[in-house]
Amino acid sequence: MAKTLGLVNLHSTVTYGGLTERRPVASVSYLGRYAIIDIVLSNMSNSGIDSVGILIQNNPRSLFKHIGHGNGWNFNTKKGGMSLLYNEKYANNLKYNHDINNLVENIAFIKDNMPDYVVIAPCHIVTTMNYNDVIDAHIASGADITVVYKRIDDADTAYIGSDYLKMTGNKIDEFKVNKGNKKERDISLETYVINTPVLMDLIDYATHLSSFYNLRDTLAYLADERTINAYEYKGYARCLDSMEHYMEYSLEMLDLDVSTQVFKSNWPIYTRTNDTPPTKYKEHAKVTKSFVANGAIIDGKVEGSIIGREVKIGTGATVINSIIFSNAVIDEGAYLENVIVDKKATVSRVKDLSGTKASPLYIKEGDNV
């Protein structure tokens, strides 16, 4: 097996409003039980990648906490495991705080590992991609760089601001920004397989081109000069590029036809151990069409919602089309519809909280309302 190094690229402009005020997108709770980054980490682990570097853009602390022991994701922690790559110098300097500069700062990580190939993937595009398939195709193509794309038919509302590809056969001619003016696009999933020497060259080249050029800019620039191979991915993919999309695509999973594409017995999703007991459904519980994490205590009505770890839902409370983060408390008699309640928030005084599907109401971490 070729030696492959994984890089999870957290550098992006995606934010979810209040949800990402004090944490990166990677650490945002997902489906009640996971953090968003668990998906790409599990894909890497399931693809047999042993060493993973996480390119951190900001807020390293929540990631340190989440990653913790690091053996929750089934990486061999002796041979490889997870390394947190961070460039403190640029933490508060937006223009310089991009993936190329992070790689420059942490180039020893790549050099120490000496892989044949590097797989780079973002965390905010949720897939169940087997990177081995991509690597096999990459090797077969003989190209230096492979970009994974997906053919989508909702490019007028999804992946706005992402790149789409113009191709001749499997060769990429041009990267262009999706402005939403067409439904069908071959959208880049920002997932790349690159031969290690090529990546080293590319980093070097990028720093000479412009101090503000990130990886995506550099690849777009290089399409002219280098043979960049395109690989079509056909499985589940959703780009969680805003709080609204985060909410929409999370709740869409409550449809079994969707969730069975993601929860597959041969493709486990790993996460951090939390030592929470099972969930207790009490006398007045009425839970339907929902995901529920462990440790919750529910005595109210829950419909079309995602309930996080150790959430408490009081007697007669109602939660509809909402996402409740871990350790939140929804007191007796409260009514929530289209709401995101962040960690450890308590809804007790104000009994009626409603957002809309298009614009969910957000309750801040630790808040009392």
Partner: protein, 375 residues
């Protein structure tokens, strides 16, 4: 490295009264409470009581139990100077291959393990009780009284007392007599099978006991009576709180049902924030509750997919309940599949069993029924 107290968990027995549930796993590894195995309770208690070294004595079906306990990582017992050590019956240099012949013999065969930590005290525990207990407080009492042996006791009703080993004590807690299941109990202080020995005393009694060919090599039958006879300092330490011996199918079912009672004071949800029970985590999906589900008075864990009706039940990992199915007052172990329309009442359904569509299990629900593919 010296340790003040080492804990030893007796986990070697089959537990035949649990019938098919222990056909392939040792009793301490039996599932409990939707997510746990029984041995999580003593192991978590040890971790929370600041005990660093825990020996787990195994003999019957020790593989699953051994890999489950591992080095103790699940309970945080895997630091540089802490350890959960599996102590199987084995072949030894001087004596060859010997099985454990009784509770006292099992500890006797591990004297060199104990010696290596030079402990002042040894805590002996059973692997089949559900409770939360701070052994550090018990040790404090043991030290204060300069006892040779402190026995944890539970104040049971006079009616129940005949089912237990009863400690007859003076007012100050000194044990003057031990009676196994007395017909006419003089006291209601039942032994919980939890002992703190001063190691010096324990060591010498074990060595003497090993030489005695007539001994059953049992703590209750041999060691305690011998110490009482010699006028050693034995004290009772009264425990207050939830405690349950889950030795039978009926009591295992009852202990699971107890968890659904809001007044139950085991505090599994750790609302007091002082005593978590640690266990293995699986990598299952969150509970998937469908449009047609009805769930009441129940405990469910991750991996469950529920399309039917659940009432008064405890469901483990990866249980699937089909549309129109009904699960009442039951315990469904991991991987159980209840097909559409099937009904289950007052039952323990063993791992990976399938309840076929249309079946009705134990509708009379007079006695707890055990469903298992094992014999």
């Amino acid at each position: 490295m010296k340790k003040e107290m080492v804990a030893m968990i007796l986990a070697g027995g089959r537990g035949t009264r649990l019938e098919a549930l222990t056909a392939k796993v040792a009793k301490p590894a039996v599932h409990f409470g939707g997510k746990y195995r029984i041995i999580d309770f003593p192991l978590s208690n040890c971790a929370n009581s600041n005990i660093d070294i825990v020996g787990v004595l195994t003999q019957y079906e020790s593989v699953l139990l051994g890999t489950y306990v591992g080095s103790g990582t699940k309970w945080g017992l895997d630091g540089s100077s802490s350890l959960a050590a599996i102590l199987p019956a084995r072949e030894r240099g001087e004596v060859g291959a010997t099985w454990y012949a009784g509770t006292a013999d099992a500890i006797y065969q591990n004297i060199s393990f104990l010696d290596s930590y030079d402990p002042d005290y040894v805590l002996i525990l059973s692997g089949d009780h559900i409770y939360k207990m701070d052994y550090d407080k018990m040790l404090e009492a043991h030290k204060e009284r300069k006892a040779d042996l402190t026995v944890a006791v539970l104040n049971v009703s006079l009616k129940e007392a005949s089912r237990f080993g009863i400690m007859n004590t003076y007012e100050d807690g000194t044990i003057y007599e031990f009676e196994e299941k007395p017909a006419e109990p003089k006291s209601t202080l039942a032994s919980m099978g939890i002992y703190i020995f001063s190691y010096k005393a324990l060591r010498s009694y074990l060595i003497d006991d090993a030489k005695d060919e007539n001994s059953k090599h049992d703590f209750g039958m041999n060691i305690i009576p011998a110490m009482l006879k010699d006028g050693k300092r034995l004290y009772a330490y009264e425990f207050e709180g939830y405690w349950k011996d889950v030795g039978t199918v009926e009591s295992l079912w009852q202990a699971n049902m107890d968890l659904l009672d809001d007044k139950n004071d085991l505090d599994l949800y750790n609302l007091k924030k002082d005593w978590k029970i640690y266990t293995e985590d699986t990598f299952s999906h969150p509970q998937i509750i469908s449009e047609d589900a009805v769930i009441k008075n129940s405990m469910l864990t991750q991996g469950c997919v529920i399309n039917g009706e659940i009432e008064g039940s405890v469901l483990f990992d990866n249980v699937f309940v089909g549309k129109g199915a009904k699960v009442v007052d039951s315990v469904l172990m991991p991987g159980v599949l209840v097909e559409e329309g099937a009904e289950v009442y007052k039952a323990i359904v063993d791992e990976d069993c399938v309840i076929r569509a249309g079946t009705e299990i134990n509708k009379q629900a007079e006695k707890v029924m055990l469903i298992s593919d094992n014999k």
